[in-house]
């Protein structure tokens, strides 16, 4: 027992040493993201991360005087990976919801865009209402607010969830789906590519606060208030100094921050 305690003590002492050494220099941060959610975060053909989330993350790190390293992680394991310490913050278009708040702490939102429904161009579905979609198959990405929303709202439809957005796009192109629910910007980005020629935006939906939350935030481990506050200050700073607008205008024709 004593030996084990000795080892544990020395390891934690070592950790403290390393930690304090780093604190004197620039802050070292690992940022977790998914890398399969264009235009917010995705891997390019040569394996680099790009997108709105990534640019925002870089700007925030710059503002916080931190060295950031990105870690990509499957979406449905991204919260456990944060808790296990594989990275220090999630910047991956994560909606701030009550369910997730029980697991992690969130910063203020850094953007907020509405969900939308996409259907094939020749579809006979007239509106994005529960009745119009009854009996149809609707695709969404698993473990997202959009999937939750679809399952709770379109109870008379066949809601199918896919591991990443890539798969529902494939299945839409293959004609297995009658509609898809996701963030309007993600969908629009897809429709603007040749792969998205099959389809059109049927309508945008008004977000439901209990399901969609109050916007997209950065998740940190519970109790890491210092880091959270630093992110909040940095978000405010880049909103004010024009960096946010610069990044925003690179991707969108409107202010993604919302009201």
């Amino acid at each position: 027992m004593r030996m084990i305690r000795g080892i544990v003590l020395s390891i934690s002492a070592l950790g403290l040493l390393v930690g304090s050494a780093a604190a004197q220099e620039r802050m070292q941060l690992k940022i977790g993201t998914e890398g399969a959610y264009p235009p917010f975060n995705n891997l390019t053909a040569d394996g680099k991360l790009e997108g709105f989330d990534i640019d925002i993350a870089r700007a925030l790190c710059e503002e916080m005087n931190a060295d950031c390293e990105f870690v990509t992680q499957e979406w449905d394991g991204i919260i456990p990976a944060l808790q296990a310490g594989r990275f220090d913050a999630i910047i991956a278009s994560m909606s701030i919801t009550d369910e997730r708040r029980e697991q992690v702490d969130f910063t203020e939102k850094y953007y907020n865009t509405p969900p939308a429904v996409v259907v094939p161009k020749d579809s006979d579905i007239e509106s994005a209402s529960v009745e119009a979609l009854a009996g149809r198959s609707i695709g969404a990405q698993a473990a997202t607010t959009h999937a939750n929303f679809a399952e709770v709202t379109f109870v008379e439809s066949d809601v199918r969830v896919y591991p990443t957005a890539e798969e529902y796009k494939l299945d839409m192109a293959n004609g297995r789906l009658d509609a898809v629910v996701d963030d309007v910007i993600v969908l629009q980005e897809w429709l603007d590519t040749p792969d998205g020629e099959c389809c059109k935006v049927l309508d945008t939906l008004s977000p439901v606060e209990e399901i969609h939350g109050e916007g997209i935030g950065i998740a940190v481990r519970k109790g890491e208030d210092e880091l959270r506050e630093k992110f909040n200050a940095a978000i405010e700073a880049i909103r004010e100094n024009g960096t946010y607008k610069e990044i925003n205008d690179k991707y969108f024709s409107f202010d993604a921050y919302g009201e």
Binding site: D76, P80, A143, N174
Partner: protein, 277 residues
């Protein structure tokens, strides 16, 4: 004891108990066993501590429906695969080089690539040939994720089962075929009455293993939107972020495998009763 009876002088004493020393190997074994025991205890304690009747009420029906999908998918594809495996196994033993090469290639491909890749190929790959499938009237089949999963799993397991069958038939000496032929039995009669009853005995264990592997392999089917047990588990986890959802899934899979194991044991004991004395 024996010394109290004068007549037992000639009876040998029981051999002395060997001294049970704590060799390093034994120490290591006992320690590892202890670690495993503590881990199991930890899981059990975790389950007791985090027992949440609300969670159970909410997700138990979904787990059951997931389990039912898993059992249906595995059971059906095992049967379909079993039927498909017969011509493939015959092909593997065929003296016709083209037939033998085709069967060999089939088995080679399905045993050499992951089930995940095969399922993906069938669902998304074949899905992109929609116009062709519509033209031949097969789209209704490939449109449904469930049929695609059944299709991919059946093809996969048929390759394994064909090898099991072929291997088992090969264990029966060729002399038996010749003896049967000498008695005027046809090849089919020989196979059915003489070879298979012996071969299937050999094949029983591998069949049981294959069924268990298929059951565990089926956990990947949620990637093509079929909500099997694992799919329901992931869905429950995504909503609760509670790790016990996975522990319950592991427990259910374990129970099903245990049932299969016991069933294989029973069947084997029944079929080999002529070998016991």
């Amino acid at each position: 004891m024996s010394q109290s009876h004068g007549t037992t002088e000639t009876r040998a004493l029981p051999p002395a108990q060997p001294v049970r020393r704590w060799t390093p190997a034994k120490l290591l074994g006992v320690t590892l066993l202890g670690v495993w025991f503590l881990l199991a205890l930890g899981v059990l304690l975790f389950l007791v501590n985090s027992w949440n009747p609300e969670l159970f009420r909410r997700y138990a029906p979904e787990y059951l429906s997931g389990l039912w999908i898993t059992l249906q998918l595995v059971g059906l594809s095992f049967l379909v695969g079993g039927v498909l495996s017969i011509p493939i196994a015959i092909g593997r033993r065929s003296t016709n080089r083209i037939v033998a090469a085709f069967s060999y290639g089939y088995v080679y491909f399905f045993r050499g690539t992951p089930l995940l890749a095969q399922t993906f190929l069938v669902y998304y790959g074949l899905g992109s040939f929609r116009p062709q499938f519509e033209a031949v009237g097969l789209w209704w089949f490939f449109r449904e994720a469930w049929y695609c999963a059944l299709f991919a799993f059946s093809l996969n397991t048929s390759a394994y089962q064909a090898e099991i069958l072929r291997g088992a038939v090969d264990t029966i000496r060729y002399g038996q075929w010749e003896a049967a032929a000498a008695l005027g039995l046809s090849r089919l009669q020989t196979l059915r009455k003489i070879i298979l009853p012996q071969a299937l005995l050999v094949a029983l264990r591998p069949y049981g293993n294959e069924l268990i592997l298929l059951l565990k392999g089926s956990a990947i089917v949620a990637i093509i939107t079929v909500y099997d047990l694992m799919g329901e588990t992931r869905r429950a986890y995504a909503r609760t972020f509670d790790f016990q959802t996975y522990i319950w899934a592991a427990f259910i899979y374990l129970s099903v495998v245990e049932v299969l194991r016991i069933a294989t044991d029973r069947i084997e004991r029944r079929l080999t009763r002529h070998l016991h004395r």
